[in-house]
Structure formats: C-alpha cells, structure tokens
Amino acid sequence: MIWDDFIPLLTLLTSLVPAVLIFLLPEGRRGVRTTLNMAGAVLKLAFIALMLWGTFHEHRFESRFPVVPGVDFLLRADALAMFFVTLSGVLWFVTTIYAIAYLEGSPNRNRFFGFFSLCVSATVGIALAGNLFTFVMFYELLTLSTYPLVVHRETDVSLRAGRVYLAYTLAGGAVLLFAATWLQSLVPSAEFDQGVSVAGLGIEHYGALRVIFVLLIAGLGVKAALVPLHGWLPLAMVAPAPVSALLHAVAVVKAGAFGIVRVVYDVYGIDFAHALALTTPLAIWASITIVYGSVRALFQDDLKRRLAFSTVSQVSFIALGVAVFGPSSTVGGVVHLVHQGLMKITLFFCAGNLAETLGIHKITEMHGVARRMPWTMAAFTVGALGMMGVPPVVGFISKWYLAAGAIEASQFWVLIVLATSSALNAAYFLPVLYVAWFRAPRGKWLLEKPRRSIETSWGLLLPTLTTAALAVSMGLLAGVPFSPLQWALLIVDRVYGRAVVDWGFAPGSAAWTFDSSLVVLTLVAPLVAVSLLLTHRFRAAALWFASLAALPAVVLAFCGQPGVAVDLPWVLLRMHLGLDMTGQVFLIFTALLWLLAGVYARGYLANDPQAPRFFRFFLLTMVGNLGLVLSRDMASFYLFFAIMSFSSYGLIVHSGDGKALRAGRVYMRLVVFGEIALFVGMSLATVARGSLLFDQGVAQLASAGTLNAIVGLCFVGFGIKAGLLPLHAWLPLAHPAAPTPASAVLSGAMIEAGLLGWLRFLPFGQVSLPGWAEIFLIVGLATAFYGAIVGVTQSNAKVVLAYSSISQMGLLALGVGAGLMAPAAWPVIAPAVLVYALQHGLNKGCLFLSIGVAPTATAASWRCRLVKAGIVLPALALAGTPLTIGAVSKSELKYALSVLPAHWNFAFDVLLPLATVGTSLLMARFLYLVWPDSDRAAERVTSAVLVSWLALLVSSIAAVWLIPASAGVGAPASLLMATVTWDNVWPLCLGGAIACSAWRMGRAKRTLNFPAIPAGDVLVVWQQGSRSINAWVRLLIRQPRRLGWTLPKKPRALFWRARLDRLIQDTDTALDGWPWVGVVAWILLVTCLLLSRAG
C-alpha cells in the first residue's frame, strides 16, 4: 500500500504541524492550543500503534526522499526505532497533560508548547532515522528545540544553564557531524544496516573507523551525559518540571543513548565493533559514568539535581548493556531505554508536583510530605525502588538482563559495577523515602495552595500515577506480548540475530487445577486486602478481611496436593509457583503464623489509628513471605524476598519512636546489602544452571566454575535474614521494635526465609563443598552460643526471644553445613532441618504472642493458671523437653549431624547439649521477664488476641502431627516417645538448676553484675567504623573546595581574555590599511606565480 511510505513521515508531522500552528496562535487561545496538542498526541499514538502492529508482522514502513545525490532523508520504522518512538509517543501524551496543568497561568505558553512539540518531533525523527544523515539532522534539531525550553523561566540562572547546554550540545553535535560525514565519505550509503557496509571495508580503514567510532560516541555522549561530558545536565534542571521530565526521561539523554545503540548495533554491528576492540572501552566509560553519577547524586540536597545525577548514572546502563558483548546484556541495555524513561519521568513528575503544590525543592524540606501527598510519594517510591532494581518495578528487569549478559560474556567486573550502583542508588533514594514517609512534618509548607479534594490538581497527579503504574506493570507483566522486555527480546533476537537464552522456560507447562487457583488466591487475597485498605470507605470490613487474608494459604498448606504447579509465563521472567515437600512444610507454619498473627493484630491494634498502615505493610510482607515459599524459580523467589524485606521495614518502624527508627535504619542497610548480594548470586546461579527454575540444571550448578562465588553470596545474602553472626545485628533491634504480632512473624516465619533460600539456591545432594560446610558449621555454632550468651543478659523479653531466634538459626545452619559436607546424606538431613524449622517457627511465634497475653494472668484463678501454662509450654518445647516437638527436632538434627566426619562428631557430642543448656537458660530468662506480676491489675485483651494465641499454642503442641507424612520422619507418637532419653533430660536439668540459682541470687539481692551488652551488640563496632568512614569520605569530597585547592578562576581568565582581545584588535587595525592590502596582494601574486611556474 502506498500509504505505508508516508506513515513514518505522518507520525513525525503529528507533532511538527501542531508545533507550527501553535507558534502562529495568539497567546490567549488556550482551548485551541490544548486541542491541537492533544489531537496531535492522540493521532501520533494511533500511527504508532499501527506501525507497531505492522513491524511486529515484519511489515516495512519507510519514507525516503533524496536530498542531494547520495544523501537521502530516510525514515524507517524498524523494531528498535519503534521502541523509542513508542516511548516518546506515550510519554509525550502524558507529559502534555502534565505540562498543561503545570504551566497553568504562566507566561509564554505558546512558545513553550510550540518548542515542546518540536522537541518531540525531533525525538521521533531521531528514532525513525534510517541513516546517519537523517539522524544528525534531527539530533541537531533536538538541540535547538530544547534550548528555549531550558531557558523558559528567563531568569539569570536559566539563561546560564541554557548557555552551557547549548555550548555542550552544539559542540557534541559538531563532533557527531564530523564523524558522520567522515563515515559517509567511506561508506556512501551510511544507512543503518547492522554494520554490513562498514564491516565490508578493508583493513586499511580500521584505524579511521576506530577514530570515527570514538568521535561518534563522544558526540552522542554529550547528550547521553557520559562523564565528563555531563556538565550541562544538572544545570539544565532549572527548566520547568515537565521539561526536566521529558528531557531526562525521553528526549535529550535518551537520544544520545539511543544513538549509541544505533552506532554500536546498526552502524558498526556489534561483532565488528567487538572485533575492533571498541566495546570494552565503551563499557568501561559507561561504568565510570554510572558510579560517578551515583556518587555525585549522594551529595545533592536539591531534589531535581539529585535526580539529574541519578540520570547521568542510569542512562549509562544503556551504553553499558550494548557494550558488554552478550545478547542478554543487549536486551538489558535496550530495554532500559524504556524502563529508565518510565521511572525517571515518574520521579520528575513527583518533584514537579512537590514544587508546584508545596513549594518543596530540597530533600531537607520533604519531612513528612507523604502525609500531605501520599499518592505522589507512592509514585516516587515506585520510581526510586525501580532505580535501585527492586522487583517488580521495571528497573529489576533491566538490571537482571545486564547482569546475566555480563556473566555470559564473562565480564564479571560489570557485576561489581551493578552492585555498586544499586548500593549507591539505595543510599541516595532511601533517605528521601524515609524523610518523606516516616518523619513528622516540620510545620507549614513553603507554599500551600488552597486544598482541593485531592492532594494536587488532577492534571499533575494523573500523569504521575500513570507512569508509575506503567513502571510497575511493565515490570510485573514483563512476559506479556508487546511489553518492553518482549519487544527488546524481539529486537535482539530477530533484528540482530543473537539468540537470547530463555531462562524462565519450563518444558511442559502445568495443568490448571483447583489447587492452582488456591495458589494464586494465596497471593491475590492479601493484595486485594491491601487495595481495600487504600480507601477509608470500608475500613472495618477491610481490616477484618486483612486479618484473615492468609486463610487461603492455610487451606493450601493443609489440603493442597504436593506437586501442584502454576505457570504464569507473563509475570516477570516467567513466574513458576508450586508446592513441593519442602515448600509444604514451610507453608504450614508460615501460613498458620501469618493467619493467627493477623487475627492477633486485629485485636492488638484495635485502638491504633495507624492500624490500616500497619496492615498494608503486614499484608505486603505476607505476600512476600508466602510467595517465596511457593516460588519455583529464582526470579520469583527474589521478587517475593524483596517484597518481604522492604515491606517489613514498615512493620519495624510502626511505632515511629527513635528506637524503632534506628532499628529500621540498621535493618534497611543490611537488607539492601543482602539484596545486592542475592541479586549477584542469583544471576550467577541462573547462568550457571541455564535456567531460573530451582529444579533445573542443578548438576550444571554443582559443576560451575562460579559455584564458590554463588555459595558465598547466598551465605551472606540469606545469612542476613537468618541472623548469622556477625550479620545478626539488625535482629535484636528490629524484632522488639515491631508490634508484637509483627515480631511473631518476623521471628517465626520470615527469619526462616533465609533458611529456605539456602535450601533452594544451593546444590544440595549434588556436590560436597567441605570448605563452605566448615564455614557454615563454625559460624552456626558460634551463632548458637553467642545468641544464647548475649541473650541471657538482656532485660527485654522480646530482645531475649530475638537472641533466641539467632541462636536457633545458628543450629539450623549446622544442618545446612552438614548437607554441604555430605551430599549423600541429604535425604536424611533435609527432613531434620525442615522439622526443626517448623518447630522453631511455631514455638517462637507462640512465645512472642504470649508476651501480649501474659499481663492478663495476674490473678490466681484457674484461668490464669491455664494461661501461665500456655506461656510455659512453648518455652519448654523450644528448649527441647522430652515429649515435645522441640525434643523431636533436636534428636533429628543430632542424627543428621552424625553423618559428619569424626572430629565434628566429637565436637557435637559436647557442644550440642551445651547449646540446649543455653536455650533453656534463655527460655528461663524469658519466662522470668514475662511472668505475670501478681501485684498488678490484670490487663484486658480482646478475644481476637486470646483466640489466636490459643490456636497457635494448640498447633505448636500438636506440631508433630502437622509434619506431612511425605517428609518421611516416622509416626508422630513413636517420635515423641523416642525423645525420652537421659541425653535429652540432663541439659535441661542443668539449665534449670543454673536458672534457679540465678533467680534465688536475684531474690537475695546479690545480683550478678552482668556486663550490659546493648541490643545489637556488634553494631556498636560497626557504627563506630562507619562513622569514621563517613568522616573520611566527607573530608575527601568537601575539603578540596574548602581548602581552596580549586583555583580562583576569574582574575586569571579575565587577564587572558583582555590580552586576547587586545591582540585581535591590533591585528584588525593592521589588516585595516591599504599598505597591508597592497603587500598581501603582492605577496599572493608572487606566490601564485611561483606556484604556477613550479607546476
């Protein structure tokens, strides 16, 4: 069809024509202007949709017009072009709405919108350009059309910014022009042809081609803000917010990054560029930019400047992705074009909302702003977390593919860059979130517009929420056709012909059964509850619904068939959920704990006005915890693990007092650290396995060269969650700080997620890793004893329990170590570990819940005695009293450990009973601290609290019967009977005796002076260290300026300028005389004569 030849051109014209018409309009015609803008934007989207569909079906859209012989104006809709066009089309639409609201009532709006449309035309032109000539044309046009937007405010600052911007970009454009024409002189067509024609040049041109490549990248690097060509970007922040949003997210920086992709892939071709040894330097350059940008962002107080430096850093991921020579990293780089756009535009919209609504420009002014503008800050949170690479926001997908690609290409240093960048991103984004959400407002806002029904105008809020929603959904639903990821895969796969491994592919998808629906319902129910809690309308009902949201999980745990599997190929990197034996055991105690803690919380927080907020975090954490139990692939596990880890921050800081906030801070740092370690470990493991699925490629993993790194990273990443020494520091701070029901799930369920992580990620039963096994065993033992010793000295019941958890996790780590040491014995060890986890989860949860129940039992009635008995029972169980689940699990663990080499066996014969002594001491200390004080009046608690506590008590007593038969540990009754042995009794008696004598000594006022170890013990050392590091960093960064190491520029520059001026003037005077002209004419005449004679 002949129309096809014009569609790319028409797409361009849909913004070009409105631009021209808007220039011609009188300033006051607001309605016409808006109509023009919106009509153009909608029409453009229609054309884009058409071209997307066509391109997907390999239809060719191409507009070609000869300009001069050999040079064509060529617009062509290939897959990569469509990627960028779609991004700019969609974001233009959104930004136009935003801009109309943002600039309401300000002057020069015709000029603004005219150039704004022109800017989009230029971007679309850059995207569709089919050869270098057209590309350069629109690239320069972009420079010109953005200048008026940068200086729109017409202040001195913005004029200066504009000047710098022009200087940088015009110089960059000039370099690009030079390089492009040079290339054209070598390759006459210079069309984007995946490097076919360039690669066809002879070897004598290679030198020139290298120089051209460097020049091209340098020219593009100015817009892409590669260090040190980024200087214009932070200054350009003076522009109005929609401009910053569009400049940063789409137009200018993306044009540069897109150009780099074009140059590497379409002009040179990746293979040829690699052969010329050009890709690695580019990757290094990009990496330097990534780190530099992040470091600079740390020190900005101005929100928009911080975002600008973040852009400097983030955009270079695109260059990094294309430069690392792996197909997956290309996917990561290319898809980041869109992903970064979505996230960054959201962030800038938010910054604009804050500035426009409350006059906030600085981070130090943002205290408590989330209370005033929760939706805006929610969008900001999405963007910020995405930048850090937290799933399910799109940033994770980019980073994941980048990491996988780097591993494929064996460029492991890229992982360090990614990890550093994530850490730095967290360091400069999380404080913003913290200040906004968890600090109290400081008083009146700088600028308070009359309050409307919503936090700001719809025109500002809707675009923000739209892009934020896109940023989440495009990540969560990355597998849906036409999602950015799928499109990027199509580009790399189809256009560049590089096979990308489908990590998430599972042969033979699972059939849909009733259980499958239950699996989905398990995760959906809490999410529905969260969304119900977002409005105030059905608050009471929503709270009840929230407290019971774990019900489907409990049903699934007890009624679900082991082996149920659900494949959700369009979620994330193909999500696979399911239930195996391990999962079922974990699900049993996890689901029970969450359900009962939920009901408990409903009663516990009955009078707390912040209960909805608590439940929102509670439910999200629940989704994370249940989800990770159900995950069958690493990406899903990571997703749920991250959701759980980040959401539980809200539980820890719920009370909002200084202690809680400090605990949250410590927790968050360790979480970020752990997430990064896990991310790297997971990418290494995936590439080693060749699959994301847990049950695939285990043998390959066991023989992989990166195995040591993987185990090490998992040890650290999950060790933080499990509280292994010395990564446990957050635990004794966080668990007590949270409200009691939250502590119960933290200590009972979430802490076990670390263990589950090890079970899932490490190649158990495949390979013996004696080195790592020893580390696990030693650290496990140390943790078990350390937890007990420090815990006994504590005077807060919750802290004691937290240390007990640490100690118990140390014992579990012994099982893991044994599994790594003796792969053959894994079938024996695994059930022991599972039973121990179950036991600990239920009992610890019960103990935490009893803290809330204990103050009710002050009287001497039989009812109170029953309650007291209920408090003592789980403590006894945990200590391993015969006939309890605790004793069963201890025996099992001991049996499992007997597979170890002789020297370890010998050690355990002595040490394990001692550990039990420690546990019994801890329990005694707990009971002492929590024991109802008969002098006090009984507190009343709601029936919800009592019922849920009782239910959990019953299930922990009956825990032996909860172990699924498939675990293969034997019949419950016989198991219990087998625990009545002297070995199990004497440590308890010893512990009891020590506790009794200590108690008696206390009664006799002969107190033992324990050294007061603060909760969080090693933290003191850490903090001291980090404080001095901080001081050093500050010294290094700030001092040069303060010491005046940077030279005072002005006088010297002025001096030289004056000299130069004088020189020019003198020359001019000299040139301006007849004698001079005569002389020159004469000289020329003679020279020319000589020249011609010589010839």
Binding site: F23, F65, P66, V67, V68, P69, G70, V71, F73, F133, V136, M137, F138, E140, L141, T143, L144, P148, V151, E154, L159, G162, R163, L166, L170, A171, G173, A174, V175, L177, F178, T181, W182, Q184, S185, L186, D1061, I1064, D1068, L1071, D1072, G1073, W1076, V1077, V1080, A1081, L1084, L1085, T1087, C1088, L1089, L1091, S1092, R1093, A1094, G1095
Partner: protein, 505 residues
C-alpha cells in the same frame, strides 16, 4: 542536447529593471516604489520562465541583436545561471517589498529620508539589472561590464545613508572594488590577447595550455577575491555593509558579493583547465579558512548587530572559497563540492538578507542596534526575533536548512579527499557562528531591562517583520528542497558536459 535559440525572457530580466530604473529616476519621488514593484514582478516572472525553459530544454542562449557569438555578444543561461537568477529575483523581490515600508511615508522623520527614497529605487534597479546581466553573460568582457556597473550602483547605495561614516565606507568600497575590477580586466585582456575570443565556452575549449593562462587566472582570482571581500581583503566590507540602510545591506551581503564569486566559480571550472587551477587551489581555500575564523572572531566582538552580521558575511564567504580546493580532486567529490558551494551561496543569500532585514527592523523600532540592549525590543518584535532565530540556524549550518545540506556535502567531500583540516574548519566555523549568533538570540529569552528606553512608536510595520521571516523560512525550505535544485544545477554544469561530449559523437 541542443541549445535552443533566442529566449526573450533572458533579456527581459536584465532590461526590465534597467528601464524601470531610468523611469524611476526621471519620474522621481513617488513612482520609484511602484516601478520597483512592477520590475520585481517582471524579474521574478522572467527568472521563472528562463528556469522553466532551461529545465525543459537545457541551456539557453540569446545572441544580442541576433549576431552569433564570436564577434557578437551572447547571453547564456544554464542551471547555475538560473539558480543565481532565481536567487536574485527572490531576494530582490522580497527586499523590494521591505523597502516599500522601510523608505515609506511612515519612516522616521529623517530630513534625508526623502532623498534616500528618491535615490534608492533607481540605484537598486540598476544594481539588479547589472546583477542579472552578470549571471547571464556568456563572455568575460561582458562580465566585466556588468561587474563594474554592479559596483558603481552598490557604492551609490552604500553612500545613501549620507552620514559621514557611510560616505567614508562607500569611498573605501569604491577604491577596493575598482582595484579588483582592474585586476580582473587585466586578466581578461591577457586572455583575449592570447586566444582572441571572449566567449567563455570557446575559451574553455581553446585555452588548454599556454603561458597566459596562469597569469590570467591569478589576476582574475585576485581581483575577484578583492571584490568578494575574502580575507584579508575584507577590510572594506564590514563598514560598507554595516553602515548602509538595512535593505541595502541585505542586498550587498546577499547578492552583490555573490556576483563576483559567481564569476570566479564559472571561470575557474568552465574556462581554466584543471591542471592550471589545481596548482593554486589551496590559496583560496587557506584564505577562506582564515576568513571563517577571523570573521567569526570579529563577529564575536562586535557591539552592534549590523556589524556582527557584516562580519558574519566575511566568515560565511570563506566557505565559498573552500570549494575550489575541495573540487580539486576530481570525480564525485568535485561535483559534490561544487554543488555544495552553490547551495551554500544560495542559502547564505536568503539567511543573510533575512538577518539584515531583521536588523533593520530592530533599528527602526529601537533607534539603535546595540546588542547589549536587544532584550528591550525582543518583546515588541517576536516575529522579527523568530526570523533571526531561523536565519541563525541557517548560518550556523544546522538542519534542516540548505546550509546544513551544503556543509554535509562539503564535509563528505573534504574527508573523502583526506582534507581533514578543511573539515575541521567547516565544523569550527559552525560552532563559532553559533557562538556569535547566540549573543543575538539570547536576547529573545532575556527579560527586558528597560523597555521604555527604546526610541519608537509602537510596533514596526508588519511588512518589515514578515518579509524577513519569509526569507528566513525559505532558507529552511530550500534545505528540504535541495534535490530539485541540485538537478537544476546539473544542467550545463562542468560535470555534465564531458558526458554530453562523450555522447555527441
């Protein structure tokens, strides 16, 4: 392709302004403007007609008085002539319309304004006639005559302002131009003495060797360089262009300097054999490069807008002289360079005329053209500043203007030839142009300091604003439509002929 005979439109484009000029002089004051507009219409139509014929039938020749060429005088139109003719017609017509308002009744109550108006039209129409004659001349002496006439009319126009500085600038211009003309005439004499003919085509065929050729080339080149104000012979241009009334400046910068460049371009490629020209091709190129840098530096330092624009002309003319070196390597790059040169000349004509007209408008409203105080008027004259913006884009050589296309071709040619330094100069020139034009453009985005300080009276007549914009926009459109233009230039171009000759036998 046969050259068809006798096209009356050729002579019409020369005669019409000449007749109008005489009539305007005789009839005096009020008729001048009307006659000028009529002449503009006729010239525009004639140029279009000639171009149409050339496009359809190939190069056109008109032997004056029906006397065939060798002894008689012939006019000839090929693609290049047509392009230049169109340029002169287009720019001339728009400037004429601008002048209507500029020298009109509502002009500032200047004592001399009436005499300026009385003299402007006859002089301008003479200049126009001379210019068209120059573009259509087929022999080298005729070219001299046209050139001399052009100079004299231009000097008269410069002196029109009547101020002391204007008279001084005019005198300086006159002396420089006469010196240039004389050198050119000497070259012509040498050629005539050696080959006995003045017809370019015959000379091109016959003058293949001989001692006279290099000397003649030198004289012609030097003379024309002086007249085109190539560095370091530019000393006369900035005062002349900077002090003349705005429409005059526009005409001088856009058209008049192109006249002498046109002669050099034509003779260099049509008349002198390559083995002679390539010996000294680097001389104009080096001077051109120096002009680009020096002109730009001076423009950066200029304090008045019109001086800035005038120095910009010095710089931009430098690009034109790069062509001679770029085309020295033959083949496709030579053709591309030649095309680029012509395209650049046309683009510059449009953009520079627009810029001078806009400067005139600013002067008209503000009473001064100090760059420092430009923000004061920027709010009053949005259209004018928009025109300045578009024209600046063209002068910077940014897309989508014709100057960009021309620069692209120049750069490709330079790099294909391995003349990296030329490419660097071209790029540098663009950046310098951006730097000095930024000084003007920034005014549009700066808040006015003292809007009361400006001298005048409401707004400028709309004609003043929109004529400048028209020219600026046409330099933009020209870039998009350069393909047909290049096709036109190919007709009868030095690169076309060898194939014709090959096809003839």
């Amino acid at each position: 392709m046969l050259e068809t005979y006798s096209d009356p439109w050729l002579i019409c484009s020369i005669a019409a302004p000449l007749v109008a000029s005489v009539a305007a002089f005789v009839l005096g004051d009020r008729s001048g403007a009307r006659l000028g507009i009529v002449a503009a219409a006729v010239v525009a139509f004639a140029a279009a007609a000639v171009t149409w014929r050339v496009w359809q039938y190939g190069p056109q020749t008109y032997p004056l008085g029906n006397w065939p060429a060798p002894p008689g005088i012939a006019l000839r139109a090929d693609g290049l002539s047509c392009a230049m003719l169109l340029m002169s017609a287009g720019v001339g017509a728009v400037v004429s319309i601008y002048s209507l308002a500029y020298f009109g009744e509502s002009a500032p109550g200047d004592q001399r304004s009436q005499s300026r108006r009385v003299l402007f039209w006859p002089l301008w129409l003479t200049l126009w006639s001379a210019l068209n004659a120059l573009f259509l001349s087929a022999d080298i002496f005729n070219l001299y005559v046209a050139l001399e006439l052009l100079t004299l009319a231009a000097v008269g126009l410069v002196a029109l302002a009547g101020t002391h500085t204007a008279i001084e600038a005019a005198l300086r211009y006159l002396l420089a131009a006469l010196a240039g003309s004389l050198m050119y005439l000497a070259g012509v004499a040498l050629l005539y003495a050696a080959y006995g003919t003045l017809d370019i085509a015959s000379l091109g065929r016959e003058a293949t060797a001989g001692p006279a050729l290099p000397s003649a080339l030198l004289l012609v080149m030097l003379g024309l360089m002086l007249k085109t104000a190539l560095f370091p012979f530019h000393f006369w241009l900035p005062p002349a262009h900077g002090n003349a009334p705005a429409p005059v400046s526009a005409l001088l910068s856009a058209l008049v300097v192109k006249g002498s460049f046109y002669i050099l371009l034509r003779l260099w490629f049509d008349l002198f054999p390559t083995d002679v020209t390539h010996l000294i091709a680097s001389v104009p190129a080096v001077l051109g490069a120096a002009a680009i840098v020096w002109g730009s530096i001076q423009a950066l330092r200029a304090e008045r807008l019109k001086m800035l624009v005038a120095y910009s002309t010095v710089a931009q003319l430098g690009y034109l002289f790069l062509v001679f070196d770029l085309a020295g390597h033959g083949g496709d790059t030579a053709k591309a360079a030649w095309n680029a040169g012509v395209l650049f000349a046309l683009a510059h004509a449009l953009a520079k005329a627009a810029l001078f007209l806009a400067a005139g408008t600013i002067l008209y409203v503000a009473g001064h053209d100090r760059i420092r105080d430009l923000p004061d008027v920027s709010r009053r004259l949005p259209v004018t500043f928009f025109a300045i913006g578009v024209a600046s884009v063209s002068l910077m050589g940014l897309p989508p203007t014709a100057a960009f296309v021309a620069k692209w071709m120049m750069l490709t040619a330079a790099l294909a030839n391995g003349q990296v330094w030329l490419a660097v100069v071209v790029i540098l020139g663009g950046l310098l142009a951006a730097a000095y034009l930024y000084r003007v453009l920034a005014a549009a985005f700066t808040r006015p300091g003292n809007e009361q300080a400006i001298a005048n009276h409401g707004r400028a007549p709309r004609v003043l604003e929109y004529t400048a914009l028209t020219l600026a926009l046409s330099s933009l459109v020209l870039g998009l439509a350069s393909a047909p233009l290049i096709d036109l230039l190919a007709i009868g171009s030095p690169w076309q002929r060898p194939t014709e000759q090959a096809a003839a036998p």
